[in-house]
Structures are given as C-alpha cells and as structure tokens.
C-alpha cells in the first residue's frame, strides 16, 4: 500500500520534521525543537497539529437521520443544537469500542471526526447500519488543523477574526481567503483550542500565517504526551474492540437519557451500568522516575497480576512519569498501592486521579 501524505507534507519537511508512518500516512513525530520543547510550547503559547489524517465524515439527507444515528451512537443527538459537538463511540454488539469520535450537528446533517486508522472501516460500518439511505461523504479534499494552547485564540483571531467567540465543543462557519472553513472549539491536549477544517489547497498558507503570528508546528510525539497528561485515551492503546466505554471510565459521555434506549451495544452497557464492571481504566503514578510503558503488567501487594498499563510516558509539564491502564475494579480506588513490572523489577506506584494536568477549557453552556 502506498503511504499517503497530507496537504502539509512539504511544510513538515520545510520545518525539519522527523517523518514516520502513522495509520498509513507519513506524519511528523517531531520537529527540530524535540518533543519536550514542543509539548511545553503548546502549554505556554500555542501549537499547530496536522490532524488531516483523521476522517471527516459528513452525513446528510432525510428527516430520520437523527433517529437513525441514535440507533448507532449512544449520544443525545436530538438535543444537540446546530454547531454543537459531542464526544461519542462507535461500538460493536458486545459494547466494545470500535472507534471514539466527535459528532457535530451541521446545518444539513452531521459531521463526525474519526480516528485515522479506523476511518475507512467506520465509513463502511456506518453506511451499512444506515442501510445506504443517506449521503455519506468521507471528505478527503479537506485538511484538519488543530491549534491548541492558551494563545490559540489570539493567534487564530488574527488570521480569522471573530473565532474567539466560540464556546467549548461548539463550531461555526468562517471565511478564510474567500473560502468557507469550519471551526470548532475543541482539541485533545487539555488546553483551550480549535480544530479548523479547511480546503487542502488553502491549508499550507493558513498554517504559515499561524506560524507568522507566533505559533509553532507540533509533532505526534508531543501530541501523545499532551493527551496523556490530560488523561485522554488513544484509540488502539487505551480503547479497543474488547473494552466498553464504562470500563474505559468514559461513562460521562453516555447521557442518562440514552441508557434505557436502544443503540449498538446498549444491552451490554445497560447491564454494566446496573451491575458494574470487572476492570476499570485508572490513572497511575509511579513513585520513582521509572517509566511504565503500554503492556506493563500491574500487580497487587500479594504479587497477583491485576491489570495492564495501556499508555505511559514522562509528562513534561508534570515533570514525572505518568501512565494509565486497566486494573481489576477492586483496586481502582485512588491511592491504592500497586506494583508495575518494569525490566523484571516490581516498581511501586499509586492509582491516581485523571487528568494529571488540569484542564484549561473555555466553558460553554452546560449540556446535561
């Protein structure tokens, strides 16, 4: 299979990116400054992330679309106002997560942002579940740029005036160089920020203008350390086909109004809501400087295996190793002492609250 390139590929090379293959795309893992500097620049100023490899799926046509999508996703789409976004899941019949995604209501339907590695499969699954009744467009003529950090609003406002009035998890149409762009106030770093959906042919000049206004390109390496500090899941690491949203500690994303209704996986979820789950995603803080990566085994104080780390790194802003993983629910309480097996040694650690780094989102209206 040919490796794909995003519309920003030349720009990545121009700014000294180390390129790697990720989900079939050639993507920047880091630029010249390196992961730690890029991470810190995003937290103190603003960072630009090329997330064009992610899927932008537009669905429209037909009065029953909202109803039919609610049979697939556990989100309260009927209550969603135009330009509002929700975090949700595509699940299998066993309640396992096939993808985690963001659904936004648009003027004529819905926009769903999908993970790069899942997008083609998601498209087929959603299309078949909708019985081919609607217009689905996985639009690859559009790039997706995330701008994240405390200065994001000021930088973006200089390039596209007016966008700073957006509330968190809300979007709107704006104009850049006489072309329509769709901007949402969202992101995956634990910072305030935006995601801008823009024509491929305009993406490079748009990003150059963000750079001229003080922002910097940030690679996938820092994106990973930023999302881990923010306690956010990476599909394929922390979420998979055998893990439900309840087990993933993402119960908050399933509104109470939907628990008794039917959607793909609803039977399993309803049962888990009532009876609880055996394993649960937790935050993990090692006592020492040792880093526990994904697949590290977790033990209790009796040397019994109780779970597994799914993501782990050194958190550049919290200046300490951090991890998340799944443990037997009996050990999921904060401050429970656990042991991580790293290179044959048992490293003491504690279950801790997520996120590791406190969020700084701009609050919008409260959505129950």
């Amino acid at each position: 299979m040919n490796i794909k390139k995003t519309s920003l590929n030349n720009l990545h090379i121009k700014y000294g990116a180390k390129l790697v293959e990720f989900a079939g795309y050639q993507m920047p893992i880091q630029y010249k400054d390196g992961i730690i500097q890029e991470h810190k620049y995003t937290r103190s100023h603003s960072g630009i992330f090329d997330v064009s490899h992610m899927g932008q799926l537009f669905i429209s046509g037909g009065d029953d679309l909202t109803n039919d999508l609610e049979k697939i996703f556990p989100a309260d789409l009927k209550k969603l106002k135009t330009n509002q976004s929700k975090y949700s899941f595509l699940m299998n019949n066993k309640g396992g997560i096939q993808d985690d995604l963001i659904i936004t209501k648009t003027s004529d339907g819905f926009l769903i942002i999908l993970n790069a590695a899942c997008k083609y499969n998601d498209y087929e699954v959603i299309k078949s579940k909708l019985d081919n009744q609607y217009k689905l467009n996985l639009d690859e003529s559009l790039s997706l740029i995330a701008l994240q950090g405390p200065e994001a609003k000021n930088v973006l406002n200089k390039v596209i005036p007016g966008c700073d009035s957006l509330k968190f998890m809300n979007g709107n149409n704006h104009v850049y160089k006489n072309e329509k762009v769709y901007i949402t106030r969202s992101g995956y770093t634990g910072e305030d920020g935006f995601e801008i959906s823009i024509k491929n042919s305009d993406a490079e000049t748009f990003v150059e203008s963000l750079i001229e206004n003080g922002s910097k390109l940030i690679g996938l390496g820092a994106r990973d350390t930023l999302r881990m500090e923010a306690g956010l899941c990476l599909y394929g690491n922390d979420l998979d086909n055998d893990t439900s949203p309840i087990e993933a500690n993402l119960k908050w994303a399933i509104p109470k109004s939907r628990i008794e209704t039917e959607f793909v996986g609803s039977e399993v979820l309803k049962n888990q809501f009532q009876s609880g789950v055996k394993k649960l995603r937790v935050g993990i803080k090692p006592d020492s400087k040792v880093i526990a990566r994904g697949n590290t085994k977790i033990y209790n104080d009796k040397n019994q295996e109780i779970g597994k780390v799914t993501s782990g790194t050194f958190g550049p802003s919290v200046e300490h190793p951090i991890a998340m993983g799944y443990v037997d629910n009996n050990y999921s309480t904060v401050n429970t002492k656990i042991f991580l097996e790293v290179r044959g040694k048992k490293i003491p650690a504690n279950i801790c609250n997520l996120p590791f780094y406190k969020k700084n989102y701009v609050k919008g209206e409260i959505n129950v």
Binding site: I29, Q30, G34, I35, I36, H39, G221, T225, K289, V290, I291, R293, T313, F314, P316, P321, R343
Partner: protein, 126 residues
C-alpha cells in the same frame, strides 16, 4: 594517551590504562530524542561484553545500553540519573554512564575508530 573507540550499539569507550569510561554517542542521542530516564549498573558488579549495562528512555521509548567490553563497574555517573537531559546536552564528555576496570584489553580491537563509526552511523541511519 587515551584511546576512544565506538560500538555498533552506539556506545563510546575511552580507555586510560585499565580504566574504561563508557557513554552513548551524540548520534545515539539524536536518534533517541529527549532523554528523560537513565538507569546504570551497580558499582562493584561485573558486566560482560555486549551485555546490558543500563537503560535510557526518551519520551518515545526505552533502549538498552550495552557495554562494549567486559569488566568490573568501578564508578557510575549520578549526574545523569538526577538530570537525564544532560545526556542530550553533553553525551560524549560530562554525561558518561559508567567506568569499568577492563578485564581484557584485546576486546577493544573489534571496536570501531571514530572515522569508521561515523561512516557506520551515516549508513545505518540513511
């Protein structure tokens, strides 16, 4: 006169009489990225040529550090354990990893010279 040689695992070794100082090369640190953790062998322990004698971790991944020669560990560099970023700053001087009392000087013979290593590093990273 001290002699500096290089291994295919990207370690450098400087021999002064019986005392060998070992660290990782600048090229290795550039491949690893920001180093955030270092683990060193225990003082007084014996290490065997090409065996594991430490670990470095970047934000991305963990990598073993090998010893290019056999010997007894006579000193370790606490500075890089306390502040692993020093390894990125000065890998081939102050950020050395450990010192050995070398067991068999002939083990130095199979290692590369600076020129040979530079050629090797360029070829393997291309």
């Amino acid at each position: 006169m001290s002699e500096v040689k290089y291994s295919k695992e990207h370690e450098w070794i400087k021999l002064d009489g019986e005392e060998a100082t070992i660290g990782i090369t600048k090229h290795a640190t550039e491949m690893l990225g920001d180093i955030v953790f270092a683990e060193l062998p225990e003082k007084g322990s014996n290490v065997d040529k090409d065996g594991t004698a430490g670990v470095v971790e970047s934000t991305k991944a963990a990598s073993d550090v090998y010893t290019p020669v056999s010997g007894e560990v006579i000193d370790t560099n606490q500075m890089i354990v306390d502040d692993p970023s020093k390894i990125n700053e000065d890998p081939e001087e102050s950020a050395w990893f450990f010192k050995l009392k070398i067991k068999d000087k002939s083990e130095m013979d199979s290692l590369m010279s600076k020129e040979e290593y530079e050629k090797f590093a360029k070829e393997t990273s291309a």
